[in-house]
């Protein structure tokens, strides 16, 4: 064995496969996401025709075992983080919707039984986009992701779910929804709820941003699910942590988009006879954006790589989420500031990104890597 194999080194080199994947994602984000996101945000288009296109990316396929129709690669939170970053560079809201099925499939893969994997995962390998999502958030100002109020009460051979879930991506269209609830003894549990279930009421949400993600409020009014719908190895903390990796990766991509947009704009914008980036107050704001984005990225990668190697990553995911939430909003607001009045208008995407980035703090339990 070589020394390197015995002693894994600090390394930031992407694998060839990761590099190739990134190129594909970046191309897709530029061609299919960036322009559409503005139209969707303006309500001039909906995302109906967009999501089927994401099937060509095969986001779910990679990590699903060959026996179930997937590519049978081992699940890589790092590779997934790179994919999410690149998609969100196009737009956070459409990226969020596009990866919601991935989050669902990853959670079933990670925490479901063989029977649950066999039942649901092949559906994501047939080549069509299948809308699936997770529902953790609840409409309370004091909501804590590890303390859901939605209840699951044993009833006959199954459970009855009651409660309200908010900000559920693809919430209007999802065929499968992973609903997080608490059992009578307050143990958290997750149930795969089929979209056609009786008692499931979906209401499209109107929010300050993320219009393309199809966010919905789901009211569970005594929804009956069979016992087999409960994820056998559900671990709420692990689920929240894995989803934080995804949310952080999305934040990194969305913030990089702000920076990449602001740089050429500010370099071209002339005031007092020269480009505004010749002035330190503008240039330093941009330098700080670049510095903090790199910090966000490294925090996310570190947590994801620990998760990938099976090491404890709870603290890393927790800190990455705090860091990304704080700086994402700062970058969002500075993006608008840098474009001045133009940034405040819908002529440029930075006002939309500002509205989208406000959600990073709030989002939990989605985009699980």
């Amino acid at each position: 064995m070589t020394e390197a194999a015995q002693d894994p080194l600090f390394d930031l080199t992407l694998t060839d496969e990761q590099r190739m994947n990134r190129e594909t994602m970046q191309r897709f984000a530029a061609a299919e996401i960036r322009d559409l996101s503005r139209l969707v945000d303006n309500r001039e288009s909906d995302a109906e025709s967009f999501y089927p296109k994401t099937a060509e990316l095969g986001l779910n396929l990679l990590q699903i075992p060959e026996a179930l129709g997937g590519a049978g690669m081992s699940r890589s939170p790092v590779s997934n983080a790179l994919i999410l970053e690149d998609l969100a560079h196009g737009d956070l809201s459409l990226a969020l919707g596009a990866v919601s099925p991935l989050g669902f499939a990853n959670t079933v893969l990670d925490q479901g039984s063989d029977a649950q994997r066999e039942k649901y995962l092949p559906l994501f390998c047939e080549g069509d986009f299948r809308a699936a999502t997770s529902a953790l958030l609840e409409p309370r100002a004091t909501f804590e992701p590890t303390e859901p109020a939605t209840t699951a009460v044993k009833s006959g051979a199954g459970y009855v779910l009651s409660g309200t879930k908010s900000m559920v991506p693809l919430g209007m269209s999802a065929e499968f929804i992973l609903v997080i609830a608490k059992l009578e003894d307050h143990t958290p549990a997750a149930f795969i709820v089929e979209g056609s279930s009786e008692g499931l009421v979906r209401t499209a949400e109107e929010n300050m941003g993320l219009l393309g993600a199809g966010l919905a409020t789901l009211t569970l009014d005594g929804v009956h699910v069979p016992a087999e719908a409960m994820l056998t190895d559900f671990d709420l903390h692990r689920f929240v942590d894995l989803s934080r990796l995804g949310i952080c990766a999305l934040a990194v991509g969305a913030c990089q988009a702000v920076l990449d947009y602001a740089i050429p704009y500010c370099n071209e914008r002339v005031a007092f006879g020269e480009p505004i980036t010749n002035r330190q107050s503008v240039a330093f704001m941009i330098a700080d954006m670049a510095i903090e984005i790199e910090g966000m990225r490294l925090m996310t990668w570190r947590a994801a790589s620990r998760a990938e190697r099976g090491e404890a990553f709870h603290e890393d995911a927790y800190l990455a989420k705090i860091f990304c939430a704080k700086h994402a909003m700062k970058i969002g607001t500075d993006g608008v500031q840098l474009l001045g009045g133009h940034g405040f208008t819908k002529e440029h995407p930075v006002e939309m990104w500002y509205r989208n980035l406000r959600a990073i703090d709030t989002l939990e339990g989605i985009a699980s890597l």
């Binding site: 002693d7 600090f10 390394d11 804590e144 330093f284 670049a290 510095i291 800190l319």
Partner: protein
């Protein structure tokens, strides 16, 4: 393959250095903070142990890595060591022989003969002058060739280890009217007639480190003691290259200085958390910060900021080890780590209230020591300027 953990080898280095820091530095932190300018003689033992570790580490890495393989080498080892040493005490570390910039400069640009003669001396760096700080291309100290000797004239200030060092690396201009290209550095042995330590500064922090003013009046040194070429480039390209070469030393020294900030900030976080824990306030990483009490919420934020600074330092060092140009990343890590380092140490004082402010503990000292790290080796604003120029692809004449 992305992995942001230290190698086992560097984990070991870190653990060893932390042992030294805890048992051989901390016990003297307060003493030498009180007795400013006193030579911390106890650090000689620490220095010997570190030099021993370094020698055995370099010995092992003599087999060059095959092309294309990742290296975690000297740059990584250096920042990891500094995390530990400056967790111990930034001031005491700076007071150790060999910790100064002078050695870095000699190693980086010296001829084999110069490295042989001065590489392991205690070398301090003389750049700053009373009226020239960040704009180091504007220095006024002169060097004139007279026969077989250079004659130096001028005044240098803020020379770290200026008093205790035995060698000085002095920046001087051959002809100020020729600008940056005429700036060269020279090796001056202490005791050379005309070279005199005129004053030691009284400082807010890093008081164990001596910071000297040194004057040069008709100070004659051998012709061979110039670092690099004596030629003054005449074309724009050559001028840029000449000064760029001098400035490149800083690309290598910024990550280590940023690492000092990471070390002292960790020290403050550890101490504040220990004090708060005694009073029942613990950092649990459970609920979202908005659901925590204000102290816990702030501690989580400080931890996150600290980790971001640390990872930026590791990235810059990794790039240097793997021969990637890292000027932008070196400045990014210096900007981030130094500002959060200062912020963290100050907040830890406030979070512990009178315990933090009191000299009974070291929190107040960490808060005084950390400030200089955001100033020396390129201020916060200079780092932002470098990052901004890189990110915006601007020249120094466009973005001043």
């Amino acid at each position: 393959m992305i992995n942001l953990e230290l190698s086992h080898k560097h984990e070991e280095t870190f653990a060893q250095v932390m042992m030294l820091a805890e048992h051989m530095m901390r016990p003297y932190s307060r003493k030498y903070d009180k007795e400013e300018h006193t030579y911390p003689v106890e650090m000689e033992e620490v220095n010997k142990l570190i030099a021993g570790n370094r020698a055995s580490a370099t010995g092992k890495s003599k087999t060059p890595a095959p092309d294309g393989t990742v290296v975690n080498g000297g740059n990584m080892g250096s920042v990891v060591g500094l995390f530990g040493l400056c967790w111990g005490d930034v001031g005491l570390f700076l007071g150790m022989p060999g910790s100064g910039l002078g050695n870095a400069a000699i190693t980086a640009v010296g001829t084999p003969a110069q490295v042989e003669k001065y590489g392991s001396s205690y070398a301090a760096m003389c750049i700053t002058e009373p009226s020239t700080g960040s704009d180091s291309a504007n220095i006024s100290t002169t060097a004139v060739l007279d026969g077989d000797e250079w004659v130096l004239n001028g005044e240098k200030i803020y020379v770290t280890d200026g008093d205790r060092s035995d060698t000085l690396v002095v920046w001087a201009t051959l002809d100020k009217s020729l600008g940056k290209a005429a700036i060269k550095s020279f090796i001056v042995e202490k005791g050379t007639p005309g070279c005199e330590v005129t004053r030691l500064e009284h400082k807010m922090g890093i008081r164990a480190s001596d910071t000297a003013a040194i004057s040069f009046s008709d100070c004659r040194i051998p012709k061979d003691n110039i670092l690099g070429s004596a030629e003054v480039a005449t074309d724009a390209e050559g001028r840029k290259k000449a000064f760029g070469g001098v400035m490149q030393t800083f690309d290598n020294t910024r990550p280590p200085v940023a690492a000092m900030a990471v070390g002292v900030a960790r020290a403050a976080l550890d101490m504040a958390q220990a004090l708060l824990k005694e009073e029942g306030v613990e950092l649990l990483y459970d609920k979202k910060p908005v659901s925590l009490n204000a102290i816990q919420a702030e501690l989580t934020e400080l931890e996150a900021e600290w980790q971001a600074g640390r990872l930026l330092v590791l990235k810059a060092a990794w790039m240097a080890d793997n021969k990637m140009p890292n000027s932008k990343e070196a400045s990014m890590c210096k900007a981030k780590a130094a500002r959060v380092g200062n912020h963290i140490t100050l907040r830890c004082v406030a979070l512990c209230q009178s315990l933090g402010y009191s000299e009974q503990h070291l929190l107040e000292k960490f808060a005084r020591d950390s400030k200089i790290i955001d100033i020396f080796e390129g201020t916060q604003q200079i780092q932002q300027l470098i990052v901004a120029r890189r990110v915006l692809e601007k020249s120094s004449s466009d973005l001043k």
